[in-house]
């Protein structure tokens, strides 16, 4: 009983983060067909923003909001400066550009801060835990789940109820037709990058919260997770990204739990093996676009 409670808790807390990560990536992909390889660096930017504010008199929540805003600003600015000029050229040009942006941001962190890991300030509550029905619950995990699910709900409402949200969904499905209805391309793309940055920023708080530190290369793992989750869920659909995130978490936690101790080191191999298997039988992902 306790075992399965821990299991569910782990899947939910990891899955919620994965879902947000994947959503941030697929939102931009849906509109531009661009896998933004600089996406992980947004998490890094949020992390270093927190680090730089460490010791300031600001309450943590304000620091967190500023860090999220830094990720949003970075996301929007990279689109403006790097992606927009090559947007009309070719998809390959954009893809290479995203690698360049990723490298640039990582190197900036290496150069101006340090190649070594830096401590990220976290609120005390992140280290608290409590017992619930014989299960030890980390407040950080619980917060992660609550915040993620709240964001998914708000996000869903915005995408269904507001004209801009509907335009975003339409653009992710058929960008050309959406423009023909008068929705400005630049507006939709800027909003998509802003939301992508927002999701990365929120993810950063909980992702970095696990180790309380940030390194220049910290963005790689979340990027791969987001990428695998979106491919798994179906690259064409926002719902797919969320489903993919939770499924990937289920697989990861499952492998961690049930694999014998001497095999746990190979858990990534097992995870990706499973992903390959799923894609062999369902190459379009778990959720179909139409």
């Amino acid at each position: 009983m306790t075992e399965s409670a821990y299991f569910v808790m782990d899947v939910l807390s990891l899955g919620s983060l994965y879902a947000l990560m994947a959503l941030g990536l697929v939102l931009v992909y849906g509109i531009l067909r661009l896998v933004n390889f600089a996406y992980g660096e947004l998490i890094m930017v949020a992390g270093y923003s927190l680090y730089l504010m460490d010791g300031s008199p600001l309450p943590w929540i304000i620091m967190a909001i500023l860090a999220i805003l830094a990720a949003v600003a970075t996301s929007v600015l990279t689109e403006r400066i790097a992606f927009r000029p090559v947007r009309e050229k070719s998809l390959t040009a954009m893809l290479i550009t995203s690698f360049a942006v990723s490298t640039l941001l990582q190197n900036a962190a290496l150069l101006f801060i340090s190649p070594r890991s830096r401590v990220v300030p976290l609120p005390d509550i992140f280290t608290h835990n409590f017992m619930l029905g014989g299960v030890l619950i980390q407040v950080r995990d619980l917060l992660g789940i609550v915040v993620s699910i709240a964001m998914l709900i708000i996000f869903t409402l915005l995408l269904n109820r507001t004209v801009l949200g509907i335009a975003l969904r339409a653009a992710a499905d058929n960008f050309r037709m959406t423009r023909m209805l008068g929705v400005p391309a630049n507006l939709v793309i800027s909003v998509a990058f802003a939301i992508s940055g927002l999701l990365a920023g929120v993810v950063a708080l909980f992702w970095l919260g696990r180790t309380a530190s940030v390194t220049p290369g910290i963005g790689l793992e979340p990027l791969i997770i987001a990428f695998v989750a979106t491919v798994l869920g179906g690259l064409q659909s926002l719902l797919g990204a969320v489903v993919g995130g939770y499924v990937l978490a289920l697989m990861t936690v499952g492998i961690n739990t049930f694999l014998s101790q001497d095999l746990v080191d190979y858990r990534q191999a097992f995870t990706f093996g499973l992903v390959i298997l799923i894609l062999l039988f369902r190459p379009e992902g778990l959720i179909r676009a139409k």
Binding site: V163, R169, A170, D173, M180
Partner: protein
Amino acid sequence: MLELKEVYAQYGAVTILRGITVEVNEGELVALIGSNGAGKTTSLATVAGILRPSAGSVVFRGENIAGLPPETIVRKGIAMVPEDREIFPALTVEQNLRLGAFILRDREQYRHDLKEMFDLFPILSERLDQAAGTLSGGEQQQLAIARALMSHPKLLMLDEPSLGLAPRLVKQVFDLIQRLHREGMTILMVEQNVAQSLRIADRAYVIRTGQVEASGTPEELRRHVDVETAYLGATRSGRQSGINGK
């Protein structure tokens, strides 16, 4: 109202339009006919801002709009119903229509227009909260046309509105186009169904290999050119009675 003058356009290295000249006057229903790959759809694409012409001009109400982005073109008053409808299948019918009214941004106007669309397309009011992808082909075509009308266009462009529809529905769609035309809408239409097009059009252009091969009123075209065999690549040598697009 609209004039394509000596328009050239290409996709990559392939030149599709070779100096095409087409004119649409206010209140007219003009059809572009011709075989597959002749450049009919490309002509519409250059007007809608999807494809930038490599030479020539596209003049709409006295202004050269060639090369403007699609989101600007629709604000000038040109709405497009593309081939395959391109409705948003995951969105509801109502959301599709709301996007059609994107450039108006006026709630009162929107409600009023929505009611008007229900008069024109009663089936849409029943399907309002349904995902557009669940509609039948004919219903999707109605939705695509309604969505285009929501922007209050001065010129409506229809690309193959009868494509893929059951014969019974083909007649319905053409009757609808005729009705919109009678109510004063200026329409530029691309069609492979020559018989039906010539039945309702004021004028038509026969397009072949990116150029205008012939043009005139349906009577003139029927009288002077063997539309079917000469331009549509039909293999039958003897013509049957009348002109048949199939």
